[in-house]
């Protein structure tokens, strides 16, 4: 079994004593390389918190988060930044593109952070734009793109650094259902063609249908884990 993501008894508490909120409560999951997994559950069930812990954006109160065998729960500072940069791609609900950069530049920026030479960056940018079917729109700023197009740029940006895992927090929440389904189809195609591990959160029924595995969270606990 090639588990790329393993969480062991992960807890994440906010606040203290009387006001303590258990966002995650001993959540343990294992995700294999190349899986296309949806984390589902109602609002407040801990989906975003789990994704943030897997993505190294937050540290657990207890437990372990192992990415490809490395426990990132103990990482801090530049080590964690570098790990995120090189191993994890993020897709955010609100796209979160840099508004003053064009689509091409947004995709290129993460490679700049990786120290990839300019010529190589340019080549990969065009490849990514082609993959997300945005050929010819690379010079547009985010404000000149539709929501669906912006999210595809975000997908391209997430893939540009050639990460092991792509984490997407409610990637379709700001899109209409048709565009959302199209985006999921695109992500699934990329998953199949590039064997890239995708983990995304959603509470949209139509989107869940596209996932191959559903991990259901309830009150911070893994309620069910269903392989389709």
């Amino acid at each position: 079994m090639d588990n790329i993501i393993v969480t062991r008894e992960v807890c994440r508490y906010f606040g203290s004593k009387d006001t303590q909120v258990k966002a995650l409560d001993h959540a343990s999951i294992e995700i294999q390389r190349g899986e296309f997994t949806a984390i589902i559950g109602p609002s407040g069930s801990g989906k975003t918190t789990l994704l943030q812990l897997i993505g190294g954006l937050d540290n657990p109160s207890s437990g372990q988060v192992l990415l490809d065998g490395t426990n990132i729960a103990d990482m801090t500072g530049t080590t964690l930044s570098d790990f995120r940069r090189d191993h994890i791609g993020f897709i955010f609900q609100a796209y979160n593109l840099i508004p003053v950069l064009s689509a091409e530049e947004n995709i290129e920026y993460i490679m700049l952070l990786q120290g990839i030479p300019a010529a190589q960056r340019k080549g990969r940018v065009h490849e990514m734009l082609r993959l997300v079917d945005l050929d010819g729109l690379g010079d547009r700023r985010p404000s000149q793109l539709s929501g669906g197009q912006q999210q595809r740029v975000a997908v391209a940006r997430a893939m540009a650094s050639q990460p092991d895992i792509i984490l997407a927090d409610e990637p379709t929440a700001n899109l209409d259902s048709k565009t959302g389904v199209a985006l999921l189809d695109l992500m699934r195609t990329l998953n199949e063609e590039h064997n890239m591990t995708f983990v995304f959160s959603t509470h949209d029924e139509k989107i869940m249908e596209r996932a191959r595995r559903l991990i259901h969270l309830q009150d911070g606990r893994v309620d069910s884990d269903q392989l389709k």
């Binding site: 954006l57 955010f92 530049e105 700049l112 940006r157």
Partner: protein, 410 residues
Amino acid sequence: MLELRLAYRNILRQKRRSLLTGISMAGGFALCTFSFCLLEGGWGNAVDIFTLDHTGHIQIHSNDYHRRPKIHKTIGERESIEQILTNHQEITAFAPRVYAPALAYANNQTRAVRVVGVDWKLEPTTSRLRQKVHAGDYLDNAMTSDGYAKAMIGAGVANTLDIGIGDELVLISQGADGSIANDIVMITALVGTRTSWDKMNVYLPLPAAQSFLSMGNRVHEYALQVADSNANEVVARSLQTEINHINPAITVSTWQVVEESFYRTMQSDKQGNYFTMVLIVFLVFIGVLNTVLMSILERTREFGVIRAIGSRPIAIIRLIFLETIILATLSIAAGVVIVTPALYWLLTTGFTLPTPIEFGGVTFDHLTGRLSLFVLTVPALLIYVFAALVSILPGIRAARITPQQAMASH
């Protein structure tokens, strides 16, 4: 390049705010440059007048004559010293002089004067003595038809003794050998004005003064002009080394040492002005700091995203630094455009003072600017240093933003 583009475009996000910030920086730069140019010009003119009027850029004396003048503190090795001065590439002119206090008698009145012996040929190459003659003829070594040495007197001597060109003047002093020196000289020219520093001077040809004071061929001073006045300290040091081989008791001093009080006053005034300028730029940059902090606050989420995708904190600090430096560069460019016509006017026309000011025997009636490496570089450097400093705090603040905080701030 992408990082530069990002920084540049971030500046353009809030065009009006960046414009206002840029204008304040450009204004600070222009004000600094103009003030420094005026300051350099004002004091530069004063130094020129000072050094060309009498002092020269460098002076050579025996021992500490320049601090404690005594008639017997003389330079005897003239031939060797003049050979060094003639051969030195940086020295453009030199003139030997002798000085002595004396009593001047005429029309049944006596006044204390200063006798100055000058080489009538070399002195005009070193000072403006010839130009200051406003009546009569400039000195020469020839005797008058009555057998008297020629003399030029300051306006104060002429006025207090009520004498003029063609009158005889009796001089009484102490010779360098301890003897009583006395002589009669014929006034052939009037020098300077009633307010000029040399109003009580009596100029004699060098041989006549040496004879009057029983000095033989010795002199009290050499005044020197150098090609680059800013390099006079270097020239003075090299001269001192050379002259030490002849006589280590001979001292080579720059005008800054000879006219120490004037130099200190000038330096104090300059430093006061520099401090004021730095203070103005500092106040300008408090506004800039506020702008940069505001811009960080507005982009909290964006910095969070950049941190989330793997940017190191230092990359965020670098981005803020770049933004501030680019804005500073654009402001300096605008400042150059603003200040260039003003500088041109200051350099070519300048201010005419409604009332001339006299300071240290030098009269100023006109102020023009002067360009120097200092004037051209320091204001820009000041802007860049402050820009770099004010980018540190916002940079650190931006770098400390965690992705989680950023997402929550939306």
